[in-house]
Amino acid sequence: MPMTLLAPALAALALLALGTAVGIWPTRKLIAVREARHDLKHGSTGFLRSLAGWSVIAFWLMAVWFGATIIGDWGATGDLAGALDRSLVRLAVLIEIAAALAEAD
C-alpha cells in the first residue's frame, strides 16, 4: 500500500472501531424500536415512548458516513485540508437533515 493511502486507511479503521463502539447504544435502540413496532399496539403510550429517541440511530449513521466521506476524499486526492474544506457543504446539508429528524422524533 502506498504511503499516501496508509493514513486514510488507518483513519478508516479507527472510524470503524469508534463507530462500532458508539453504535452499540443506537443498535440497541434500533432493536427496541423494531420490537415495539412488531409487538406493541400502534398509537399506545408504550409504543410512543418506545419510539421516542429513534433519531439517535440516524445521527450515528450520518456521523459515520460524514467522517467516511472526508477520508474517501482524502484518500483519492491526498489533500486532507482540501477534503475538510469540501466537507463543509456536506456538513451544512447534514445539519439541516439532522434538525428535521430531531423535530420529527
Binding site: L15, L16, R28, E35, W65, I71, G75, V89
Partner: protein, 349 residues
C-alpha cells in the same frame, strides 16, 4: 356481587356430583371438577350486564365506595402487590414481582363489574413466551436456558375502561425556511376527540409492559359479568384505586395521547405544545383481564415476560448480548463507512 369474597365461594366451587374442587378451564370455558372431570357453566345473575358503564361526575357524591371483605389476601413484602385466590392459594410468591408474600385476612377493594376469563392454557402461554424469547435479536446465548428456570404466575389484573369526550384548544410552534432564514410561526387550533374504552391500570403494579404489550387485543364485547367462579384456579388483584386516583394515574398517558392527536390534527410537527381540554361524558368500568407473567432472573436482574390470557400475545423484558450488539453495530458502521468512502472518493459534494 357480594360473592366477590373468595371465602364465600368455596361451596360454589365444589362439584355437585362428587364434592371435588372445581377450577376454571380455559379450553372448555367452564368450571371443571379436578376429581371427576364434570364440567358446568358459570351461571350469571339475571340482569347482569358486562357492557354496563358508570357515569362519573367529579362533583357528584361518591357512590363508588370500597367494600371491606374478609378474604385471604397475599400481600407482597417487596412491591406491595396484593392478590386473592378463589379456592386454594396457588403460590407463596407475588404474581407481579415474584417476591415473598404474607397472608392477611382482610382486604378493602372496589367491586369488579366485569372480566374476560382465561381463554388460554398455561402450557400454550409458556410456549408463546419461549417462542418470543427465541425470536429476540442480540439475545445472550444462554438466555433460553435461564428462561427455562423461570416461574409462571397467572393473574387477573385490574383495569378501568374510561370513555370521555375531550374538547381541546391548543397552540404550538413550527419552523419554516425562507431565503436561508429559519422563521418560527405559531399555530392555534381546536378539536374534539373521544377516548373509547381506554384501558387504564387500576393498580400501580401493572406496568405499560402488561397493558400495551399484551392486553391491547382486549375487546369490550367479550366481557362477561363478574362472577368469582371465573377466578377459581387463578390469582386476582382486587381494585384498590378510586376513580379519581385512576384518572390521576393515567394523566401522563392521556397527556401523551392528546399531544399525539394534536400533532395529527395540526398536520405538521408542532413544538412547545400547550393545550386546554374540557373533559365531559366520563364513564368507566372496573374489569379484570387475564395475564400470564413469567418471572426469570438473568445475571442477578429480575425480568418478566408477559403473555395475554386471551390470545397469547407476548411481550417482555430481555437482556442484550453486548458482543452481538457490537457485531450488528460493526456491520451497520461498515455499510455507512463504505458508502461514505465511495462518496468522498468520487468527489461528490
Amino acid at each position: 356481587m357480594e360473592g366477590e369474597v373468595p371465602g364465600a365461594t368455596q361451596s360454589d366451587l365444589q362439584c355437585p356430583r362428587c364434592a371435588g374442587q372445581c377450577g376454571w378451564d380455559p379450553m372448555q370455558g367452564a368450571l371443571v371438577c379436578a376429581s371427576c372431570g364434570h364440567a358446568r357453566r358459570v351461571e350469571h345473575l339475571e340482569g347482569s350486564d358486562a357492557a354496563a358503564e358508570i357515569d362519573y361526575c367529579p362533583h357528584a357524591p361518591d357512590s363508588d365506595a370500597p367494600v371491606l371483605a374478609r378474604s385471604r389476601v397475599h400481600q407482597c413484602q417487596t412491591c406491595g402487590g396484593a392478590v386473592i385466590f378463589a379456592g386454594a392459594a396457588l403460590s407463596e410468591r407475588c404474581a407481579y414481582c415474584d417476591g415473598p408474600v404474607v397472608l392477611a385476612e382482610q382486604d378493602e377493594g372496589y367491586r369488579t363489574m366485569a372480566l374476560i376469563p382465561f381463554q388460554l392454557r398455561e402450557e400454550t402461554a409458556r410456549n408463546q413466551m419461549h417462542a418470543w424469547i427465541a425470536g429476540r435479536w442480540a439475545a445472550p446465548p444462554d438466555l433460553a436456558q435461564e428462561v427455562e428456570k423461570g416461574r409462571i404466575a397467572t393473574l387477573y389484573a385490574p383495569f378501568f375502561t374510561f370513555d370521555s369526550r375531550e374538547a381541546v384548544r391548543y397552540m404550538g410552534t413550527y419552523t419554516i425556511r425562507r431565503n436561508k432564514r429559519t422563521i418560527t410561526r405559531t399555530q392555534r387550533g381546536q378539536m374534539v376527540t373521544h377516548f373509547d374504552d381506554l384501558l387504564v391500570p387500576a393498580s400501580p403494579h401493572i406496568t405499560p409492559l402488561i397493558r400495551d404489550g399484551v392486553l391491547h387485543d382486549f375487546e369490550p364485547d367479550t366481557l362477561r359479568p363478574y362472577h368469582p367462579a371465573y377466578l377459581a384456579g387463578y390469582a386476582a388483584e382486587r381494585h384498590h384505586l378510586s376513580v379519581p386516583e385512576g384518572l390521576e394515574a393515567n394523566a401522563a398517558d392521556k397527556d401523551l395521547l392528546l399531544r399525539n392527536r394534536i400533532q395529527d390534527h395540526a398536520g405538521r410537527r408542532l413544538s412547545g405544545i400547550t393545550y386546554h381540554t374540557d373533559t365531559t361524558g366520563l364513564r368507566y368500568r372496573r374489569i379484570l383481564l387475564p395475564v400470564y407473567i413469567l418471572h426469570y432472573t438473568y445475571r442477578g436482574t429480575q425480568m418478566r415476560v408477559v403473555s395475554c390470557g386471551l390470545r397469547g400475545q407476548t411481550y417482555g423484558e430481555r437482556p442484550f448480548s453486548y458482543v452481538k450488539l457490537a457485531g450488528y453495530a460493526a456491520l451497520l458502521t461498515f455499510i455507512a463507512l463504505s458508502l461514505g468512502l465511495a462518496w468522498g472518493a468520487a468527489g461528490f459534494l
